[in-house]
């Protein structure tokens, strides 16, 4: 393959080299978290994590494990930088994003370290493009301190049941209220808009409910504007886990299968709009 042979000599200075035969396996998942311009990239020997935040109240993370890549070489324990995500996606789709079977863009992503641009070698049909994107000092992502021990309620739903609900959500409502309870209504999404209110109830024994573990009745409200971007990740995913902790913080974890059937994760954290005491 042209890309790997041509850059043999340049391998040494790169602290991170990641290659994919199909760039869509990266670009699709990144598209689902593109609601802000810049993203923080953190690479470890386990793989790549891309973080996007909104007003310190909401955070989205995309995880692409090392074994998804055809080549993943990292010379340090942690390599971090910040780039403009929109620009990166434009480059990944530079050949037009064709969805013809058998035609894909190959990617080799290289980074020399602090102060250097992120270099992308993209190839499709024998045509090679080199893109260099300036990197910035990575900001420290907010630590939502969401740990499994603190989780009070957890459900796993098949995405197809939520996709319709999210696409129908009354956008005139400022908040999305999520109620999780060991008793009726079990799992409920509510909106309060100009026309009135709406409730979507998912019973615990529904075929769409893969896991239902709710210990206490909790009702929390989240700003609709913060949660609406998660619809993109929902659209890509096949399953979603919804967890709340004792503080009412929300964690949404989406299981995404890429073009080759491999599994990646996208995670959203959101802090509650206000504490609502259960009735």
């Amino acid at each position: 393959m042209p890309l790997s042979t041509q850059s043999q000599a340049d391998d040494e200075p790169y602290v991170l080299v990641a290659s994919l035969d199909n760039a869509r396996n990266l670009s699709n998942i990144l598209k689902s978290i593109t609601f802000k311009d810049h993203a923080i990239f953190s690479a470890t020997p386990n793989g790549l994590k891309v973080t996007v935040e909104d007003s310190k109240c909401m955070q989205a993370n995309a995880f692409i494990q090392a074994d998804i890549f055809q080549e993943f070489t990292i010379k340090e324990d942690l390599v971090g930088f910040q780039v403009n995500l929109t620009v990166l996606l434009d480059c990944l789709n530079i050949f037009g994003g064709s969805t013809v079977q058998g035609v894909s863009t190959a990617l080799r992503m290289c980074y020399r370290g602090y102060g250097y641009p992120l270099t992308l070698f993209l190839e499709e049909g024998g045509v090679v493009t080199v893109c260099k994107i300036n990197t910035q000092e990575p900001e420290e992502p907010v630590d939502f301190d969401f740990c499994s021990n603190n989780v009070t309620n957890k459900v796993i739903l098949l995405s197809e049941s939520l996709k319709e609900a999210f696409s129908e959500l009354d956008m005139t409502s400022e908040v999305l209220q999520i109620t999780m309870s060991p008793s009726q209504p079990y799992f409920r999404l509510s909106t309060f808009g100009n026309s009135g209110n709406a409730h979507y109830d998912y019973p615990k024994d529904s075929e769409m409910m893969e896991l239902f573990r709710c210990t206490t009745t909790q009702t929390n409200r989240y700003k609709m504007s913060l949660l609406k971007p998660s619809t993109k990740a929902l659209a890509l995913s096949c399953k979603v886990s919804v967890r709340t902790d004792s503080r009412g913080f929300l964690s949404l974890q989406y299981l995404v299968r890429n073009d080759d059937g491999q599994i990646c994760f996208v995670e959203y954290y959101c802090c509650p709009d206000e504490e609502v005491e259960e009735e």
Partner: protein, 405 residues
């Protein structure tokens, strides 16, 4: 009122709401012993639609006890934009919704629409409503000299040939044929307009009665919803009408529901109509109501005055026992516009509807046309100001007949 619909009926209900949404911005709900009526009217009062679902349509239908504070049933109206989104995607309703429950009034002051979907999922919508008098329309079908009954897809197939943006069309009937053509005004450059006309032989219709040869021009956009509904339910469409200026009623019915759309028609100069039809060899000479179009300034201005709007329609307070629009019986137009906000809001509505000079003229004239017997001052004195040009005949097209049959 509390009712339960199941499966396919939910889709039919949704389709009715789609059809009503093409008429007006508000949906009137009128639960009665006869059934649940859904009605809409446009802001210019030139189009009215009513869908009546008999109790048999529902799996359960109850009006609520009369003992509750004296009135068991609440008549109300909802904003179309609150209701339409719930029924927007009919294919997904067909796939997912098993039952739908609708409750009006007590205990809460909301209309509750609850969808019981596959996999145990329940979607509940509580919509705010405004209490309102029932809305009914004046239309005496049994007095109409012209009655056509077309098989389900016939009219739908005919109107399909007109571009979606086509606002008005003209339906012409003679004892020999029925034709539909698009209506355009003098001002438009005729060379840029595509003219479409198609004709049908009376045999294409299940029932054909022409008492008075006439051409009526009405708004197509508001009719499309009903035609689509008729097609999806394979119901024949009945058309009751008279001469230009009198309203036309399109209706469908089956064992569990009745639906009708009443449209005002463009006022035409009375004298022209009989003379045209006495020229047998000439195919339809265009009977564009040129005269009606011309007095742009005066009539239009008049119709925007609130009083002008209000007096055009018969304002009779509704009484509970009044029968609703039922083609063979005569109904009264009843309206809640007695309240002080009514006329003002309609004035604004009339203004907002009149986005282009052409459509505003049509609006005001159609409006008058509905109650032409009341006020003919402006329109009846219109002289014929344009004569027919010969090149019109070159644009005639003769369609052999409906392809669907």
């Amino acid at each position: 009122m509390n009712c339960l619909l199941e499966g396919n009926c939910v889709k039919a209900f949704g389709k009715a709401i789609h059809a009503l949404s093409r008429i007006g911005d508000e949906l009137w709900l009128d639960p009665m012993v006869k059934g649940l009526a859904l009605r809409a009217v446009n802001s210019a009062h030139s189009a009215y639609a009513c869908f009546l679902f008999s109790p048999l349509f529902f799996q359960q239908y109850s009006l609520g006890s009369v003992s509750e504070q004296g009135s068991g049933t609440v008549k109300c109206k909802l904003a179309m934009k609150s209701v339409l989104p719930l029924f927007r995607c009919l294919t997904s309703i067909e796939r997912n919704v098993e039952r739908c429950q609708i409750t009006v009034g007590t205990p809460s002051d909301r209309v509750m629409i609850q969808f019981f979907c596959r996999h145990g999922i329940i979607k509940t919508h509580n919509l705010r409503f405004q209490e309102s008098e029932a809305l009914q329309a004046v239309f005496a079908s049994h007095l109409c000299p012209n009655v056509l009954k077309a098989p389900a897809r016939l009219l739908g197939d005919m109107v399909m040939h007109f571009p979606v943006c086509q606002e008005e069309i003209t339906l012409s009937v003679t004892p020999e044929r029925v034709s539909l053509r698009n209506y355009y005004e003098e001002g438009n450059d005729r060379k840029k307009t595509m003219c479409t006309e198609m004709s049908l032989h009376p045999d294409e219709f299940n029932y054909f009665q022409v008492g008075v040869e006439s051409d009526i021009t009405f708004c197509l956009k508001e009719l499309r919803g009903l035609l689509s509904f008729a097609e999806s339910h394979c119901l024949p469409v009945s058309v009751h009408f008279a001469a230009a200026g009198k309203p036309v009623c399109f209706s469908v019915e089956d064992m569990v529901l009745e639906a009708s759309v009443v449209l005002a028609t463009l006022m035409d100069s009375e004298s022209r109509i009989p003379s045209q039809h006495t020229q047998p060899p000439a195919p339809t000479t265009p009977r564009r109501a040129d005269a009606a179009v011309v007095p742009l300034g005066s009539c239009e201005a008049d119709s925007r005055v609130p009083q002008g709007v209000v007096t055009m329609m018969e304002l009779i307070p509704s009484s509970q026992g009044s029968p609703i629009l039922n083609p063979p019986t005569q109904m009264l137009l009843e309206s809640h516009f007695d309240d002080p906000n009514g006329p003002r809001s309609h004035d604004e509505a009339c203004v907002s509807v009149a986005s282009t000079p052409a459509s505003s003229t049509i609006c005001s004239l159609l409006f008058r046309a509905v109650s032409s017997e009341q006020d003919g001052v402006c329109v009846a004195q219109l002289p014929v100001l344009a004569c027919y040009s010969d090149e019109e005949e070159d644009m005639e097209e003769d369609y052999p007949g409906s392809p669907s049959l």
